[in-house]
């Protein structure tokens, strides 16, 4: 069920003195089963793009196609669309509101008109997927939980609607390293089990770890797109856009400038392997 953005543009407050073009002529297809990371400077249009994926925003030009159907057509079932494309906003825990974790996660499925039994079933499944233990936290107030757990409750609330595509806007912002690690593992597992994921992130090390493809936005335009290996080796270009690169890419790049050339890589594990090979190999040559 791919989503295609076709010549998509979005202009805020069109025709007013405050008119601002946030997205300009974007062509991008999100393929089934991929984990696409969307990166770019603040204000580059990432969040605006994400809000087009489930019809929260309508393009001012161009189309959004889901299974080849224009989602903004008059007769499109926008309600069903919201269940198929689950959007997790930044700091989603700010939107928790129910008395118990169980009720909060069940809110979406209940809204879909499912029976209480089905809702319960979905709540259990969603909690399993996000590493929340039903018997421990199900009856607790979401506000009694730690920041990391609250974030997972918010994610579970979206997963309970069983979306085919999950869109995450800065999922790890503000979490401590352990909570961040857990959440990234949850996302990796969801992806492995078949959910298509679109993830917006400023953390290039998170992107390097998870993404199967990276799209780079700059000032509302799609300027780079490809597998992480192709993107993160272009250190100078990303840096010129004011973006970070994974730490491994950065060190590899600096070493290259010093005449120590290593095979392309963007993950610390791979860099460690290359360095070990190079530095030990070098020692063997010398003797």
């Amino acid at each position: 069920m791919p989503i295609t953005l076709e010549k998509l543009s979005h202009t805020y407050q069109e025709g007013s003195p405050f008119q601002a073009t946030a997205l300009h002529d974007i062509n991008l297809t999100i393929q089934d089963g991929e984990l696409l990371a969307l990166i770019g400077h603040t204000g580059s249009g990432k969040s605006t793009l994400a809000q087009h994926l489930n019809g929260l925003l309508k393009p001012t030009a161009g189309r959004v196609l889901l299974d080849g159907q224009d989602i903004n057509q008059k007769d499109a079932d926008r309600r069903a669309l919201r269940f198929r494309v689950g959007l997790v906003f930044q700091y989603p825990e700010h939107q928790l509101f129910e008395e118990t974790v169980r009720k909060d996660i069940g809110f979406g499925p209940r809204n879909m008109g499912l029976s209480e039994q089905e809702v319960e079933q979905r709540v259990h499944e969603a909690m399993d997927k996000t590493g929340l233990v039903y018997d421990e936290v199900g009856e607790k107030s979401p506000f009694e939980l730690s920041g990391g757990q609250m974030r997972r409750v918010a994610l579970a609330g979206v997963l309970a609607m069983k979306p085919d595509i999950l869109v995450l806007d800065e999922p790890t912002a503000g979490l401590d390293p352990r909570a961040r690690d857990f959440l990234l593992s949850d996302i990796a597992r969801l992806h492995r089990e078949g959910t298509t994921v679109v993830m917006i992130s400023h953390s290039m090390d998170d992107v390097a770890r998870l993404a199967t493809r990276v799209a780079v936005l700059e000032k509302g335009r799609l300027v780079m797109e490809g597998p992480p290996g192709d993107i993160f080796t272009q250190v100078d270009r990303l840096t010129a856009m004011g973006l970070d690169v994974p730490q491994a890419s950065k060190l590899r790049h600096e070493l290259e400038a010093e005449g120590i050339v290593l095979p392309p890589c963007y993950l610390l594990d791979d860099l460690a392997d290359h360095l070990a090979h190079r530095l030990k190999g070098g020692a063997a040559d010398a003797t």
């Binding site: 400077h41 603040t42 204000g43 730690s146 920041g147 990391g148 912002a173 503000g174 979490l175 401590d176 390293p177 352990r178 909570a179 961040r180 690690d181 400023h202 090390d205 004011g242 973006l243 970070d244 730490q247 491994a248 950065k250 060190l251 600096e254 070493l255 010093e258 120590i260 610390l268 594990d269 860099l271 460690a272 392997d273 360095l275 070990a276 190079r278 530095l279 030990k280 190999g281 070098g282 020692a283 040559d285 010398a286």
Partner: protein
């Protein structure tokens, strides 16, 4: 004997009577001019400590002294707030005025500074955070990093001795984070302001002069970034991580390379690799 600038002495804090201790028998002295990074998992009590430092909270047990003044003594409340400024996480919750200059003036008005003295103070504060060109702009048009620097300028205008930044970079993008951290480091270096920098970013902590780690309300580690982060397993046990370059050093040592285990930054690691390559 020099007095510590900030002194937490066996501090305990509970949000509700007989409730769980958010901060538990916590003792820490911070010297004048230090730049201390305070780390800890979500819910470890870091933000509670921050609020104890300028008397927003007063301890349930123990004492908090700011420049020798006890926060429980209400006669010092305003003096403490003036000397110890706070910057919080969300840049949008800290701006009160519609023009940058007026936002910086807000604290001064509360202190009763004569209005003819204000422009010079405001200009100096904005220059110190490299925002002088934005004095007449609308704060809501600025980036997150710029808003946080305006918040810092508002504190600087009151000529504080101490600034506590409670995850001031958590909601910013990488360039905004760098702007704010660089500003805090510079104010510490050039004006001798004592800084308490609370963060979840280990690479930020690596650039401080001292790292204190909290776990479940208690102080569990305290030392230079090198001392703390070279204890990789212990740091992880406290639900934190080490900076990426320290992690790489660890991986290289596991692969049998004689890399220093306490490398913290990319330049340090580059030096190490060059040294080994030269050797080889």
């Amino acid at each position: 004997m020099t007095q510590p600038h900030l002194s937490l002495q066996n501090v305990t804090y509970t949000y509700e009577e007989n409730g769980p201790e958010a901060v538990s028998d916590f003792s820490l002295d911070v010297g004048r001019g230090e730049f201390v990074a305070l780390l800890g998992h979500n819910g470890s009590g870091k933000s509670t400590v921050a609020k104890l430092l300028n008397g927003l909270y007063t301890p349930t047990g123990g004492n908090v002294l700011v420049a020798g003044m006890d926060t429980q003594d209400s006669q010092y409340t305003w003096e403490i707030r003036k000397r110890c400024g706070m910057v919080f996480q969300n840049p949008d919750n800290q701006i009160v005025a519609t023009v940058v200059r007026e936002d910086v003036a807000f604290g001064l008005e509360n202190l009763g500074v004569p209005s003819e003295d204000m422009p010079a103070i405001i200009d100096r504060a904005l220059s110190a955070v490299n925002m002088a060109d934005f004095a007449d702009r609308a704060p809501h048009m600025l980036s997150g990093g710029q808003k946080q620097r305006i918040a810092i300028a508002g504190i600087l205008a009151m000529q504080p001795e101490i600034i506590v930044l409670d995850e001031a970079t958590a909601m910013l993008d990488p360039s905004g984070r760098e702007e704010v951290l660089e500003t805090a480091l510079r104010l510490n270096r050039e004006q001798g302001i004592t800084v308490v920098w609370i963060t979840h970013f280990m690479e930020e902590a690596a650039r401080s002069s001292r790292v204190a780690v909290m776990y479940k309300g208690k102080l569990v580690m305290d030392g230079t970034p090198r001392e703390v982060f070279s204890q990789v397993d212990l740091v992880r046990e406290y639900r934190l991580d080490v900076p990426p370059m320290t992690r790489l050093a660890h991986m290289l040592r596991e692969r049998g390379l004689d890399v220093r285990p306490d490398a913290l930054t990319i330049p340090e690691m580059r030096q190490e690799v060059k040294r080994l390559a030269h050797h080889a």
